[in-house]
């Protein structure tokens, strides 16, 4: 930002702040270059692939399936839920710690002090909400299953989804913890009911789903949702005025720390910043039940119970992983269930890995415990392994889904997560440039190292989908399992 003589108030403070590290024209040009290349290389092909899928035979079957409105409604409720929960830790009305502190305590309305970031976040969400469903809606027009007017309705509804998501995000930052918890439960229940029973048709998310072409419920959700967003916006902005500066600055500090760790390619450390701290259950006895190595496992079990909300989320995800493992894409025979199960298993088991994270943090020469480091790691891996696979199998049994497939796919995904937790810091060798005719390829190695856990879990899901589609005998899943096993063993036995 260029210094503006005479600027005062919020603008003046921001001018002074920006002047500390002015961005050169070269920096801006590089940013434009990176964004343009990323759009051309990553976004362009991705959009084209989605378009080809959407306008293909399977795409038509999926997009015209009667379950699409309820699925969109459920997805809408989940997006709002996510925005609400994220707002507790990282709200939209945020600036870097120093300006957040100065402006938070300044004699200016919060809507002015934080209006810029709030407006940018709202615009981004509205744009994303409009664009994401627009592509499949346009595909329906191309397939002759919808009119351009239908696309307009979908885009309008999507914009409202983004608008309400912005309101939910701000609500997470502004509302007290209990109110956020109630909102999260209501939205979670709404998502489940929308899919399972097509219920709560009066709810805002269901009305938005009704904007989909061919939906049997009358449209009008966009207007209802927009009204909802406008009704809640005034109380939220009033609430923003009353949020303690300490909370805003705390969020700003955590956001900055997490971003620094992401920049250093330490995703584990970044996640650590936002990991819930135990505040309850200290009267539960974690140590003193059993002697010997089992004491570590019991301590991990009780430790997990001390962040109950987080544990509940993990349990739900793991049970769902088993429930959905046999699912197919609506209107087709595409086996999407194993992929979804792997993703849910990988994500869900993370909440019971705190003991293993503790073991991973022990230095190579640590003499803290009376056992070797590999033994301590193995003991801390027991609880997540058992609960991860056990809950997924339980979910599969309850839903009548293929139990063996659930155990295999989620088992590999859980192992990938365990390996991820034990990953440690990035080897410096990956920073060495790899000069090729196409440029420096060292970023590829770093990207693979960074994302190997999710990639291996996804690979397990895809390999499971091959089995579910009767197109393979499990060879690919065995290959992925061996690969994950080797990575896990190497990291667990590292001295």
């Amino acid at each position: 930002m260029r210094a503006t003589p005479g600027a005062t108030g919020v603008r003046g403070a921001l001018v002074v702040w920006a002047a500390r590290a002015p961005r050169s024209l070269g920096d801006l040009a590089y940013l434009v270059y990176v964004v343009a290349l990323a759009t051309l290389i990553l976004l362009g092909p991705a959009v084209r692939a989605v378009w080809l899928l959407a306008t293909g035979t399977d795409g038509r079957a999926v997009l015209t399936d009667p379950s699409v409105p309820s699925t969109w409604a459920a997805a809408t409720a989940l997006v709002w839920l996510a925005a609400l929960v994220v707002g507790r830790e990282r709200g939209p009305a945020l600036r870097p710690p120093f300006p957040a502190s100065v402006l938070g305590d300044a004699d200016v309305p919060r809507t002015r002090a934080f209006g810029g970031p709030l407006l940018r976040a709202t615009c981004a969400l509205v744009a994303a909400g409009a664009l994401v469903p627009a592509l499949p809606a346009v595909a329906l027009v191309d397939l002759g299953a919808a009119s351009p007017g239908d696309v307009g309705a979908v885009v309008a509804a999507g914009s409202v989804v983004g608008l309400v998501a912005a309101a939910a995000w701000l609500a997470g930052e502004v509302l007290p913890e209990r109110a956020v918890a109630v909102g999260a439960v209501v939205l979670g229940a709404g998502a489940v009911l929308a899919v399972v029973r097509d219920a709560w048709a009066w709810a805002p998310w269901a009305l938005v789903g009704a904007a989909w072409p061919g939906a049997t419920v009358a449209a009008g959700g966009a207007a209802g949702g927009a009204a909802l967003a406008l009704v809640v916006v005034v109380p939220l902005l009033v609430g923003l005025e009353r949020v303690p500066t300490r909370r805003i600055v705390g969020q700003a500090v955590r956001a900055q720390r997490a971003q620094s760790l992401v920049d250093a390619m330490d995703l584990q450390g970044s996640g650590e910043v936002y990991r819930a701290l135990p505040r309850t259950g200290r009267r539960l006895r974690a140590v003193g039940h059993v002697p010997g190595p089992a004491a570590i496992v019991v301590a991990d079990v009780v430790g997990s119970l001390r962040t109950p909300g987080r544990l509940l989320g993990g349990v739900v995800a793991l049970v769902l992983a088993g429930v959905v493992v046999g699912a197919e894409v609506p209107g087709t025979t595409l086996a999407a269930g194993p992929v979804l199960a792997a993703v849910l298993g990988y994500a869900g088991v993370s909440v019971v890995c705190d003991g293993l994270r503790h073991a991973a943090a022990l230095g190579g020469g640590s003499g803290q415990y009376g056992w070797s480091l590999p033994a301590v790691r193995a003991l801390h891996a027991a609880w997540p392994a058992v609960v991860g696979v056990g809950l997924a199998v339980g979910g599969a049994v309850a839903a009548g889904a293929p139990v063996a497939l659930a155990a295999a796919v989620v088992g590999v995904a859980v192992a990938a997560r365990l390996a991820d937790v034990l990953k440690g810091v990035m080897p410096v060798e990956l920073l060495v440039p790899i000069v090729t005719p196409m440029g420096d390829m060292s970023a590829v190695g770093r990207a693979v190292w960074l994302a190997d856990g999710p990639l291996l879990a996804l690979a397990a899901g895809v390999a499971g989908a091959v089995i579910a589609a009767d197109e393979g005998d499990g060879t690919w899943l065995r290959v992925v399992a061996v690969l994950v096993g080797v990575v896990l063993l190497r990291r667990a036995s590292r001295r």
């Binding site: 135990p278 140590v287 003193g288 004491a295 301590a299 430790g303 230095g363 190579g364 803290q368 009376g370």
Partner: protein
């Protein structure tokens, strides 16, 4: 003492042991011998090599010259027998974020073979000795920096060891707490444990007794500074060849 069961002390020997890293002297060649059950206090300004010396003894770093022996063996923290000998805060214990302080201390004790009931009793008694029994049910993130330092000492002291290596245990402690820590260390010394303690505290040095090794600030380049000088040789009397890296000897 309510903490760990006593083990016979371990001897420590540094024979012209030094560390030079990329041309920078972290520890000039140092010779010192601590008999089993002895106490060595390591003094010196920041950057003189106190922590490096402790890391050599803990086996967390290998000397680039000279040799280090603990009970006659090369330090190797990957050997179970060595881990049993040595406890310390050179590499501070990692807190378990979802265990209370008392649980963490007790869990560490159980992994060293202490029966469960006794481990819990030891943990409670040790926290009481350190004056932090009221913090027993707190999680690590609920401790202040001084309380966290005492928690670290509790985790270190609860396990049996023949050699205690402590790096500036006085950090963030008030005078009363420091006296308490010194008394606990005195009990361990009386029970036969060998102590090697790096400190900036005159009070802790006086309370621990034993011998003192004074390190001088490193000048940065290899062969200049960081020389160890025995307690009874004033720095002014250290000849020039010491400043170029020739080692000094001290029998503690």
């Amino acid at each position: 003492m309510a903490a760990a069961a006593t083990l016979p002390g371990a001897s420590v020997e540094l024979g012209s042991a030094g560390v030079v890293l990329d041309g920078t002297t972290l520890l000039a060649p140092t010779t010192v011998a601590v008999p089993a059950g002895g106490t060595l206090v390591v003094r010196g300004p920041n950057g003189s090599g106190k922590s490096t010396l402790l890391r050599l003894v803990a086996g967390l770093r290998a000397p680039t010259e000279g040799a280090v022996r603990v009970d006659g063996h090369v330090p190797d923290p990957h050997r179970r027998a060595f881990r049993r000998l040595v406890a310390g805060s050179v590499e501070p214990p990692v807190p378990a974020r979802d265990l209370t302080l008392a649980e963490h201390v007790a869990l560490v004790a159980t992994t060293w073979g202490v029966p469960v009931r006794e481990a819990r009793e030891r943990a409670a008694a040790l926290l009481a000795r350190l004056g932090i029994e009221a913090l027993a049910a707190r999680f690590p993130h609920e401790l202040s920096s001084g309380q966290a330092q005492l928690a670290t000492l509790a985790v270190v002291l609860v396990r049996p060891a023949s050699l205690l290596l402590l790096d500036e245990p006085e950090q963030r402690l008030d005078a009363d707490r420091l006296a308490t820590v010194a008394a606990l260390l005195g009990e361990r010394r009386a029970a036969g444990t060998t102590l090697v303690v790096a400190t900036h505290s005159d009070a802790l040095e006086a309370a621990l007794g034993g011998s003192t090794l004074r390190l001088r600030a490193a000048a940065g380049a290899a062969g200049h500074g960081g020389a160890a000088a025995p307690d009874d040789v004033p720095d002014d009397d250290v000849p020039d060849d010491d400043a170029r890296g020739a080692d000094r000897r001290l029998d503690a």
